[in-house]
């Protein structure tokens, strides 16, 4: 029974996950999603969303007229996403299998708070694979927690992030990991950063990069 109590406590449900992401970004996540859909996606675009979760961004993008494919590995999340974004194609696929989707076939690849769920090896693999998936001139749009490089900013980052992460865990038992050295990884995978927009004193960023 005691094992069951902890299992239940740590169990991830779609609703809990959404709440967790709101807390850790102090509600910015919804605004960022709206910005991505309005600012970086055009009608008619073919878009791949890595880790579509409960489908809120997929919905916004289909409403904007894009042709959206969303992938995730959590069946409960996918079930919610299918209802939330009926116009999108939503499927169970790991990010490390995206080459199955074709080559040079997407205008945009977007990922919000999902790349940070990957291990470092997985992240590098996915960045390389996604570069091959984008059409020439296509954009990779990533919103995630990032660890800044300059020392003073980095200290500020941990100062803000630790309490937020603790609060998130207390309320929803969710944890996230911040991306480290993301810009360098992007470069290694053949991307050129087009724009970076910081949120929450630079602890969260919207990074748009182009397949070089």
């Amino acid at each position: 029974m005691s094992t069951l109590v902890y299992m239940k406590l740590l169990e991830q449900t779609p609703a809990k996950y959404d709440r967790g992401m709101r807390v850790i970004t102090l509600g910015r996540v919804d605004r960022i999603k709206r910005e991505i859909a309005a600012g970086w996606v055009e009608p008619g675009h073919s878009v791949l969303e890595l880790g579509c979760g409960t489908g809120s961004l997929a919905r916004l993008m289909t409403e904007r007229g894009a042709d959206v494919t969303g992938i995730d590995i959590s069946e409960p999340m996918l079930a919610v996403a299918r209802d939330a974004a009926p116009a999108a194609t939503v499927m169970h696929l790991t990010a490390t299998e995206i080459e199955r989707l074709g080559e040079s076939c997407f205008d945009r690849i977007v990922a919000t708070l999902s790349l940070s769920e990957l291990s470092e090896d997985e992240l590098d693999y996915v960045l390389h694979a996604s570069a091959r998936l984008l059409k020439p001139g296509g954009l990779l749009v990533v919103a995630d927690e990032v660890v800044p490089i300059p020392l003073r900013q980095r200290m500020l980052f941990w100062l803000i992030r630790y309490p937020l992460a603790a609060l998130t865990f207390l309320l929803t038992q969710n944890t996230t990991h911040a991306l480290r050295g993301f810009e360098r990884r992007l470069e290694d995978a053949g991307y050129r950063t087009v724009s970076t927009k910081p949120y929450l004193l630079g602890t969260l960023a919207l990074i748009v990069s182009e397949r070089a």
């Binding site: 029974m1 005691s2 094992t3 069951l4 109590v5 902890y6 299992m7 740590l10 169990e11 590995i73 959590s74 069946e75 169970h92 790991t94 490390t96 299998e97 291990s119 470092e120 090896d121 997985e122 590098d124 693999y125």
Partner: protein
């Protein structure tokens, strides 16, 4: 120093995730024909696997798959060590450039989350389920056989393991009961700090002595231990200490109650038993795996993945049958891996399946069990495909 602290932590907090970096590790001096095996990224597991393989002189490639820092069996049951984890670690480590073969050995105890057929289809590698315990890996790999010996498929619960689980049980039950006990201490002075050591002692004793205590697993064994402990206490208290009679009776009853509770919780910390409150109270079976004979294609997989030897082959019908239902501890591995959905869990028959009742007997992990992995159409068994020799 740090390692000693970690060891102390693992003595109590094994239930809590402790991740280590996923990726590829070389064990010994592996070459292009060395075996490739997979484990989860729980620090304690990874350390034990590496130490055991090095001690046994094995050269191998070890893939540490992301499992949210949880041990293989629990992670597989909880959806953190899945077919996706295996697919991902095979692809991202680039292990295919390091070996000439395409065989990957999965932990047998991951079978409740990892689907053999889906791994095969999605990676092009031939999976095998290895032994249940890493200590048997050397014997398995040196035998040259593709499937594990029957005795290597059984989970065991030997003394060191029981000791460790006893301390963990004590720690976690104490955590859960801490608040109620502290509140109750306002009425019964010192209740909480006297109860916690009793809890710990009974937890360790009940797991260590589990095979020798009378009664069926769970509450009955807990009660037996409680009677023993309370009697010892009463004897000592009466002869050596000056305890008033009402206090003596009260504490003896309390020891009995605590022991029954610990005994009830103990099975969930063992690899051998499931929790049995409802079976105990209502006298009904709550787990009931069954094979639909028409669907069985004799692929052997249920027999290979079952850690407690529930299935047996019927040479006449050339199909598998449930032979030892009492042993089933509801892990779900057979259901996950049967390629034709021939295995069902029809425990609902005649038994209340409301969430409360399911939570009481702890079988809810199997209740909603349906295949988590995407599964390809099974081919009927061709030689060597399924893992049989």
């Amino acid at each position: 120093m740090w390692n000693v602290l970690k060891d102390i932590w693992f003595l109590f907090g094994r239930l809590f995730p402790y991740p280590t970096r996923p990726g590829l590790r070389r064990i010994g001096d592996p070459d292009r024909s060395s075996p490739v095996l997979v484990t989860g990224n729980f620090e304690l597991t990874v350390r034990t696997v590496i130490e055991t393989l090095e001690r046994d002189g094995i050269d191998a490639w070890l893939l540490i798959a992301p499992s949210k820092g949880v041990n293989v069996w629990c992670a597989a049951g909880g959806g953190h060590f899945t077919t996706d984890s295996v697919v991902s670690i095979i692809k991202t480590t680039g292990v295919e450039k390091l070996v000439d073969h395409r065989r990957v050995i999965l932990p047998q105890l991951s079978a409740n989350g990892v689907n053999y057929w889906a791994v095969k289809e999605r990676t092009g590698w031939k999976p095998r389920f290895g032994p249940a315990h890493i200590k048997d890996f050397a014997a398995y790999i040196r035998s040259g056989k593709q499937i594990t010996e029957r005795e290597h498929r059984h989970v065991s619960f030997d003394l060191p393991e029981r000791l460790a689980m006893g301390t963990n049980l004590g720690f976690n039950v104490s955590l859960i009961l801490a608040l109620p006990l502290i509140i109750a201490s306002f009425w019964v002075a010192g209740l909480w700090w006297k109860t916690i050591p009793i809890l710990f002692m009974l937890s360790v004793l009940s797991t260590v002595l589990v095979f020798w205590l009378p009664g069926k697993i769970g509450v009955q064994k807990g009660l037996a231990l409680g009677v023993l402990t309370a009697a010892t206490y009463a004897l000592v208290a009466q002869t050596a200490l000056d305890v008033p009679p009402w206090s003596l009776v009260g504490w003896s009853a309390w020891i009995l109650a605590v022991s029954a509770f610990v005994g009830y919780d103990m099975p969930s910390w063992s690899p051998l038993w499931r929790q049995d409150a409802k079976e105990l109270i209502l006298g009904v079976r709550t787990t009931h795996v069954a094979i639909i004979p028409e669907r069985c294609i004799n692929c052997h997989l249920c027999d290979i993945v079952c850690p407690v030897d529930v299935f047996a082959h019927n040479p006449e019908t050339k199909k598998y049958e449930v032979a030892n239902l009492d042993a089933c501890e509801a892990c779900g591995a057979c259901i996950e891996n049967c390629p034709t959905e021939a295995i069902v869990n029809n425990f609902r028959e005649g038994v209340c399946a409301c969430p409360t009742c399911l939570a009481i007997d702890g079988v809810s992990k199997l209740a909603g069990k349906s295949r988590k992995s995407r599964q390809p159409e099974p081919s009927s068994c061709t030689e060597g495909e399924c893992g049989c020799d």
